[in-house]
Amino acid sequence: MSQAALRINKISGHAGSIPGEDTQRQDLVCKLVDTTTCIGCKACEVACVEWNDMPFSQTTFDNTYQTMPDTRWNYWNLILFNEHEREDGSLQWLMRKHQCMHCAEPGCLEACPADGAIVQYSNGVVDFQQANCIGCGYCITGCPFNIPKFNSVTKRVYKCSLCTDRVSEGLEPACIKSCPTGCLHFGTKDDMKDLADKRAKQLRENYGFANAGVYDPPGVGGTGVIYVLHDATQPELYGGLPSRPSIPLSVKLWKHPLKWLGNLAIVGGLVGLFVHYLKFGPKGREEEDIAGTPGGGQP
């Protein structure tokens, strides 16, 4: 595949430096999802399954328009349908394209113990390398968006690759390509932020959405997928989009203070025991013990 052309920014479970780090400057790429113009046609869902050549996945009907309750290992892109009753009693039908957010500080990558199983390219795309995946599922714990999905047959974890094979060839991701309303945009992070801000301003000033805004959560360092929301103060309405996502505290505690304290304690303990032996040596033996048979008393 053509990912080789992409420079790497972060590698999971990797000891030492990152090959090729900082040798090339690349723009961050970004998907912009304008939830205000999504019509819920699911063309992006189909395009994703088609392009990534995913096996057929049975859908689940739960009295909504939603294809299934959650993304799956072979269904990376899902439109979430949410009915929201406003204070004045009117109904708002919120649709959100749910997929990997491609965090600048990815919790999955942070939690992953396998060398090279998750990489972040210098264009910001977070990609799973199933060949290196050990199937521990720590990425599932690290992700604040509930994205990585485990395949119990292959024992590997899968998620949206931001069509990195297309992007590295200068193409837009399959979902963007398929969108008929223009609610999906793809480009550099700066351009998409600019476009999103303009659209949010338009919504605030001309369409009466006073709280319209852009979702680009700083808790994970910003994301490679940003949303324009009718009401940016309540992202939870859009199928549980967390308002302040971050890498779980316990993952941070485990990966930083605990790891260093633990390493210090283990090495300190080994050195301490060795020095103890040098100073005090083994415990003594009784006269008669030394006189007894060597080898612990077997006849």
Partner: protein, 232 residues
């Protein structure tokens, strides 16, 4: 392993002459105790090695040496189950002997003499001294935490999103409990292999010299010998 007649003849009544072996030795660990110990040791060491590989990228090579990250991930929980099973059996065998007694308080108070190898100044320990009891319970409770958190980490994908807090707790507590066992393990190896000569043999061949018993476990020695003579 049968005591000689003249050894038995010397025994005062009330002891356990059947535990005496040849050459003034005494049976400390029976076969099922030794076997359990080594099942626990083997499964623990495998879990430790693969666990360290997952703990730090600098140690991931251990998983590679042991056949790769994937197989290590598959076998680590099974090995953990075997370890916990052997710990449960140890509980069955030893938990009564591991109860803390008044002498153990004195033992802790005299810890500095134990550390500096002045064992003649130690209060008379029974079959297990207070440190060994501490090691046992520490392994037992840490093992229980490892089991419970390990079950969550074994099948993280089975937990619904609403119960993700269980994953968050487990992913932190599992290495914490593992670090507790690593501290135990290092002290255990040091004491058993390096510090107390004769201890390692006892968990291989089963017996220790009477001198060893008298020196490190005077209470147990008296129990075996059935004698109430004060320790010299």
């Amino acid at each position: 392993m049968t005591p000689t007649n003249d050894q038995q003849a010397q025994m005062p009544s009330g002891g356990h002459p059947e535990r005496l072996t040849l050459h003034r030795h005494v049976l400390r660990y029976e076969f099922h105790e030794r076997l359990t110990h080594w099942v626990a040791a083997g499964s623990y060491i495998y879990c430790l090695a693969t666990g360290l590989a997952f703990w730090s990228p600098w140690l991931f090579w251990i998983a590679v040496v042991l056949g790769g990250g994937q197989i290590s991930r598959v076998l680590h929980p099974w090995s953990g189950l075997i370890f916990f099973g052997s710990v449960l059996y140890m509980y069955e065998m030893w938990s009564k002997q591991m109860r803390f007694e008044p002498v153990d308080k004195q033992w802790w108070a005299s810890l500095r003499y134990y550390i500096t190898n002045q064992d003649d100044k130690m209060p008379p320990a029974g079959r297990y001294n207070a440190g060994q009891k501490m090691l046992f319970w520490s392994f037992f409770w840490a093992g229980l935490v490892l089991l419970l958190t390990g079950l969550v980490l074994w099948f993280p994908e089975r937990l619904p999103w609403s119960m993700r807090w269980l994953r968050y707790i487990s992913v932190f507590l599992h290495p914490v409990a593992a670090l507790v066992t690593i501290a135990n393990f290092m002290i255990h190896i040091y004491m058993g292999v390096f510090a107390e000569r004769g201890a390692f043999g006892s968990v291989i061949r089963g017996d220790v010299s009477l001198a060893f018993a008298k020196r490190y476990h005077p209470g147990w020695y008296r129990e075996i010998m059935g004698s109430s003579e004060p320790r010299k």
